[in-house]
């Protein structure tokens, strides 16, 4: 926790260095920042950039007071016009603007929106129109990069990333006399003991892909084939069925609370973990500042996603940076996009809690925020949700069917067969 504050204080120290790196004649330097300043000679105009960074944290301040000034100093002719949009409304605003051809030059898009926007035809295909795309593609985490791939073309680059790891209440585990589970089998075996000690073994607030995919993947299951064209034989494979069956059995035995089936009046995962009602949950790095502020006395412990036959595999979250095909100033926009992926910009944002996507920064991350450690480790194997415009709809069907199975309305096999049939039809629309 102390590192977090130290990191914020250290921000002031790194800015001058960042500027020095930009303006220096670093022709031999291979960092993206250097190449952007080389290519940017003579650029001019305004670059509009829509994002949903938080104004309540340091994110917007870092973007507007550190990153953009540094870029504008290195590119004196270019002005960046950054528009902060409330996260919940950004998607609607993007779709409406797309219909009215009023999109900005650059968008920080949720990873799930990229295939959807690409399918609408409003995104610039970066892998063909960005000359040094391959250089960047090689520098970022592959799981995060994969969220930009639609029909063989990359329409964006990852900007920040995250994943879910296991968070546990050490007191609740100790009270039941069980060790921190490292495998799913251990978690399942400990569940009755934990129940006897007054804790649910695991809690989650829904059964959507974000919630259940870590269990399915860690069991060795899958959702679709690698090309995201068919779901049959994947979401209803033996391994996928076994993973969901495990969750259903745990729920029905009373080891998982009813918030997983949509009981929105139940105890939230964050509160339940603190009270010890929930022994373990899965959640992302943003929980650390929340816990630090809300429950300063609670010691938040993390471990890797419990492993199964498929390993310990979690789900990738985060945002991508995309350029619109209607952009009137692609050269300057490209220069700013490159700068956002420079080590300087990525490190500046890391201090606000945004996990960088450059694998070269991995070693520095724990020095900035020590809680990044387990997330970096988990990201090495984490996978993105299926990259398809149909995902929202498939996700809804998946959650409905799994919740039906948990309530006992339908068998797990039938539920997942139904998901497979419906998902196949949806995927066929986009193939």
């Amino acid at each position: 926790m102390k590192h977090w504050k130290a990191g914020t204080a250290a921000l002031a120290v790194t800015i001058p260095l960042a500027l020095a790196g930009c303006s220096g004649a670093g022709g031999t330097d291979e960092s993206p920042a250097a190449s952007s300043s080389d290519a940017s000679a003579g650029l001019s105009g305004t670059v509009t950039y829509w994002h949903a960074y938080s104004e309540d944290s340091q994110e917007v301040a870092t973007l507007e007071d550190v990153i953009i000034p540094a870029f504008e100093k290195a590119n004196p002719g270019v002005t960046v016009d950054a528009v902060t949009v409330p996260y919940d409304e950004l998607h609607q605003k993007l779709i409406t603007a797309a219909a009215g051809e009023q999109l900005p030059d650059l968008v920080r898009a949720d990873i799930g929106w990229v295939p959807e926007l690409a399918n609408l035809g409003v995104l610039e295909p970066l892998s063909t129109s960005m000359s040094d795309f391959q250089d960047y593609a090689e520098q970022v985490y592959p799981g995060a990069l994969a969220t930009n791939l639609w029909k063989g073309t990359y329409y964006g680059l990852p900007l920040d990333t995250n994943t879910r790891v296991m968070m546990y209440n050490a007191d609740a585990l100790a009270k039941a006399g069980v060790e921190v589970p490292t495998t799913i089998d251990e978690l399942v075996a400990d569940a009755p003991t934990l129940k006897a000690a007054g804790s649910y073994a695991f809690a989650d607030n829904g059964a959507s892909g974000w919630n259940v995919l870590p269990w399915i993947w860690s069991y060795g299951g899958s959702i679709t084939d690698d090309d995201v064209t068919v779901a049959s034989g994947h979401i209803n494979s033996d391994a996928s069925v076994a993973a969901v069956q495990m969750l259903v059995d745990m729920y029905q035995a009373g080891y998982i609370p009813s918030i997983i089936v949509g009981d929105s009046g139940g105890l939230a995962t964050s509160d339940g973990l603190v009270s010890g009602d929930y022994a373990t949950i899965l959640d992302g790095p943003w929980m650390f500042p929340i816990y630090q502020s809300q429950y300063p006395d609670f010691e938040l412990n993390t471990a890797q996603m419990p492993a199964g036959d498929g390993g310990s595999i979690s789900v990738v979250g985060g945002e991508d940076i995309v350029m619109t095909s209607t952009s009137q100033n692609k050269e300057a926009a490209m220069a700013f996009l490159r700068y956002l992926l420079s080590e300087d910009a990525q490190l500046a944002m890391a201090k606000t809690g945004q996990m960088p996507v450059l694998s070269s920064l991995t070693d520095q991350l724990t020095a900035i925020n020590d809680y990044f450690g387990p997330f970096v480790e988990q990201l090495a194997t984490a996978k993105p949700r299926p990259v398809t415009p149909a995902w929202n709809e498939i996700n809804t069907i998946l959650q409905d069917q799994i919740q039906s199975a948990m309530r006992g309305d339908v068998s797990v096999k039938d539920a997942l067969d139904s998901v497979a049939t419906q998902a196949d039809a949806l995927l066929a629309q986009y193939s």
């Binding site: 509009t48 949903a52 938080s54 104004e55 309540d56 944290s57 528009v83 902060t84 949009v85 409330p86 996260y87 919940d88 409304e89 609607q92 605003k93 779709i95 409406t96 603007a97 219909a99 009215g100 009023q102 939230a268 964050s270 509160d271 992302g284 943003w286 929980m287 500042p289 929340i290 502020s293 809300q294 429950y295």
Partner: protein, 279 residues
């Protein structure tokens, strides 16, 4: 008036009942106030504990000193006042015509107003956006006004028609015989008599435009053009929200709404029409 013991008992019962209702009605607001007095609340706590442990006005201080906050309040105030004035004028004229003047097409136009009541405006957002683009009203504060007025007219025209219906026709006809034209009958007779109803329209219109969010966030981009609801929404983060801050901002934003309400509910004084009816 003289008070009998029975009157006193009835009055006491009335207060008791009203008090009980008030507790139920006010509770969520009290919870908002309580949360706004807590600093750094990222998780909303159990609402059965109303009084915060260490009450502080930090959130209020932070909101009021936030960059541009007064600017956003002024933006909202200008848009709401302009919209409310236009809504009151246009909807009362339409309502007067529909309930008092005979003209061809009256029934069809009124039916189209009723249709407008039932259309979910959310579904119109893309066509409205294209219209605003073609009229060069995107990213503009004055550009919000025609859209706020247009979407509020059906409701208020319908509401006012009901009240205008209630004004005795004899009064109109008497004025007509005196040679008063339609405008004079509307402005000098119907409007003063409909004061309570117009008060209602002002209260609802101001609240509606002051709170409007979905359209504003869709068409406005520039930081200095934000309205208050956008500024308040931006206090929320993608993964975490400082609820104390959000509620403090919301409560500050309620002050003008309550002020408008207090001002215009004064129009709800019984007996305004009395003299007129007798004349």
């Amino acid at each position: 008036m003289r008070r009998t013991p029975r009157d006193r008992l009835l009055l006491a019962l009335r207060y008791l009942f009203l008090g009980a209702c008030a507790v139920v009605m006010v509770y969520p607001f009290a919870y908002m106030v309580s949360t706004s007095l807590k600093s750094r609340t990222y998780v909303l706590s159990d609402p059965t504990r109303l009084w915060p442990d260490e009450p502080t006005l930090d959130n209020y201080r932070q909101v009021l000193t936030a960059e541009h906050f007064p600017r956003y309040a002024l933006n909202s105030a200008m848009v709401s006042v302009a919209s409310t004035v236009a809504i009151v004028l246009l909807s009362s004229m339409m309502a007067y015509a529909f309930s008092r003047l005979r003209f061809p097409g009256r029934r069809i136009l009124f039916a189209l107003i009723v249709v407008g009541l039932t259309i979910p405006t959310m579904m119109l957002i893309i066509p409205q956006f294209l219209l605003a683009r073609d009229l060069h009203l995107l990213n503009s504060l004055p550009g919000l006004v025609p859209f706020y007025v247009g979407t509020a007219l059906a409701f208020n025209t319908f509401l006012l028609s009901g009240f205008f219906e209630q004004i005795p026709r004899e009064l109109d006809e008497a004025m007509m015989i005196d040679g008063a034209g339609a405008w004079r009958r509307y402005w000098n007779l119907a409007m003063p008599l409909a004061k309570p109803a117009l008060g209602t329209v002002v209260i609802f219109s101001f609240l509606g435009t002051w709170d409007e969010y979905a359209w504003a966030v869709t068409v406005l981009n520039d930081t200095d053009k934000r309205t208050l609801p956008i500024a308040i929404a931006l206090f929320q983060g993608q993964h975490s929200t400082s609820w104390g801050l959000v509620f403090a901002a919301s409560i500050i934003a309620l002050v003008p709404v309550i002020a408008i309400y207090l001002t215009f509910q004064r129009y709800f004084v019984a007996g305004l029409t009395t003299g007129a009816v007798k004349s």
